[in-house]
Symmetry: C2
Subunit: 348 residues, 2 copies
DNA sequence: CTGAAAGCGCTTACAG
DNA sequence: CTGAAAGCGCTTACAG
């Protein structure tokens, strides 16, 4: 009786070698395009391999190669289950690039508060990955534990010390947003953000301030910068009340991200304030979904798949032990910065 | 101090055997709790293993065991990147259960229209999985290609022929929804759905009709059942116009899912129809996110993580070649049906 | 350019 | 109850 997975039987390197009349080492060389094999032998082997439907078993390859062919993709469970497809898109980009390199991606989540003794991903204990990708803000203990284990790692949309990271060019994006509002004639542009200790959000605030400065605008009448809370819809809804209590109401608001902007949009609506007539709103991320009710959101688009792709590429270099160049991206030391694009819609 | 990974070197079964003064086969037996090893030897080995921080290498185990320890999780890319965290939650449940069994989950997406020669997941070509989980509606060619390769598979929230599947008890959920509306005094309850060829949605329609029948209600004045389109917000928004054009306007609508219900909610709002006063609305899935603007949605909650967990359990049985029982779940032939729960909120 | 051989780290009959 | 040995399917020096 045939084994469950295999049909008649799966052919191995031996079968190919025998049928092609060569040694298994030659088959191996051919399959991997290594060493010098005569053209004739090579094509013969390749043909036989095709005929026999031979595909090298990964488990067998990995043992002598002392690698696993797997890379771990880690993010916080609450981020993964978030409603906007932000991290899922990043993952998709990673997957795509990994496929290209013949690597598998093991997606694993960790809780917000990481405890090494409880939550260490199994692929780490079993050393079943060659490298790790970490998306979003995660407990620094976790990051350090990976680094401490000397496993190559790349952070995505987050930064910690000198760990390699692929990030959004937040500052550039924020400047784009401000410039746009300025060009629309706004002179009092507020900021609204939470969780502002997050490096990415901090950069957006900086870009915003630079933008104001470049336009020679004075201090805005209102700048809501909370270090607390998650930068989400609920927080945006609540915090934005403060905007309507400011000494003078701004004519435009740049939000730290789309979720917060959505909260602001709804708060404005509930107070009878029209967008964009009474108040222009710009977000960041481009994750707002279709909605026939709210004005569609002007935002700074983040290329999420691209973030994932670049991170995977970067990690691959790290694992291979050699550096590469990123023609179209700014790369300062250990940071790859991915540019954004302004998407103008109804809210501004 | 040496890090476990790469310090001087990672300890192997040999190191443990030598230090414990036994053969490597004994170590293997102990680590896997197999065979009969004296208590004394066993604890000694275990202690040494702990001391040496020994963790068996997966790649090395899998070779002689002729298994991979991986299971593939496949879903459509457009489903994965959807805004509601429906499939991501299912995946989380899968991951959780897989972890428990010492299995890894490889998440891969395929396009809506599957072409075997272009999109066959690599883990299939390389036979790098012991089983496959498929979530949501995917091209039947894909499903058949897995089955044809004799790889154990379990469908989640979808059905095709006699393939094993873990599904939502859609009919029961729909009945719950209708009963609730009836208890609120509604006598003219409409239905709104798209992509109604989907088995799950078809079941919801059936449950709805059974519910009407049980309550001895006549034909509703309106039943919008489209076979086309995706069952999403946009479709819901458009289709729901028909409801307001019906001969008589129903007093309540049961929607095929939450996304459609959200579309209806917004269409109603744009026409100045109050929910729930003028129109009660009930959805299905429980994926609507926080929103301070629309009335919160009464819905039939689906336990997404549980779907994933059960599917993984089921697949595990299939891979092991023996069946098990599901004490709390109806299991008819190859189908495991997971019950739902009615969540009453503002929209009804 | 190609073959024979050792080895990756483990599991599993098979003898004791 | 425990050890010696074969083998999983491949890669990679090392000789020719």
């Amino acid at each position: 009786m045939a084994s469950p997975t295999s049909g008649p039987k799966r052919s191995t390197i031996k079968d190919v070698a025998k049928k092609a009349g060569v040694a298994i080492s030659t088959v191996s060389l051919v399959m991997n395009g290594k060493g010098f094999v005569s053209n004739e032998t090579s094509t013969r082997v390749l043909n036989v391999a095709k005929q026999l439907n031979y595909v090298p078993r990964q488990a067998a390859r990995k043992l002598p190669m002392q690698s696993t062919g797997n890379i771990g993709f880690v993010l916080r469970a609450d981020h993964f289950a978030r409603s906007e497809p932000f991290y899922t898109r990043i993952f998709l980009g990673t997957e795509f690039e990994a496929h290209f390199h013949g690597l598998y991606v093991l997606l694993t989540t960790i809780p917000q508060k990481f405890d090494a003794s409880l939550h260490t991903p199994r692929f780490l204990q079993e050393r079943n990955v060659d490298g790790v990708l970490i998306a979003g803000k995660v407990d620094s203990d976790f990051i350090e534990s990976i680094a401490g284990a000397r496993i190559p790692l790349v952070l995505i949309d987050y930064q910690l010390k000198d760990h390699p990271a692929v990030v959004i060019d937040n500052q550039q994006g924020a400047k784009l947003a401000v410039e746009h509002l300025v060009s629309k004639g706004h002179e009092d542009i507020a900021f609204l953000g939470a969780d502002m200790l997050h490096p990415s959000l901090k950069e957006r605030l900086e870009g915003y301030r630079i933008g104001l400065n470049d336009a020679r605008l004075g201090k805005p009448s209102c700048e809501i910068v909370s270090d607390q809370g998650e930068p989400d819809y609920g927080t945006g809804f609540e915090l934005s009340q403060q905007i309507f209590e400011c000494s003078k109401r701004p004519t435009a608001v740049f939000c730290a991200n789309d979720s917060i902007a959505m909260g602001l949009l709804d708060q404005a609506a509930s107070q009878g304030i029209r967008v964009p007539e009474d108040l222009a709103v710009v977000g960041f991320d481009d994750v707002a979904r279709e909605d026939h009710f709210r004005p569609s959101l002007t935002t700074v688009r983040v290329y999420k798949e691209q973030l994932g792709e670049l991170a995977m590429k970067y990690l691959n270099e790290l694992m291979a032990g050699f550096p590469a160049t990123y023609p179209n991206f700014e790369r300062r030391s250990h940071i790859v910065r991915v540019p954004t694009e302004l998407i103008i819609r109804e809210s501004s």
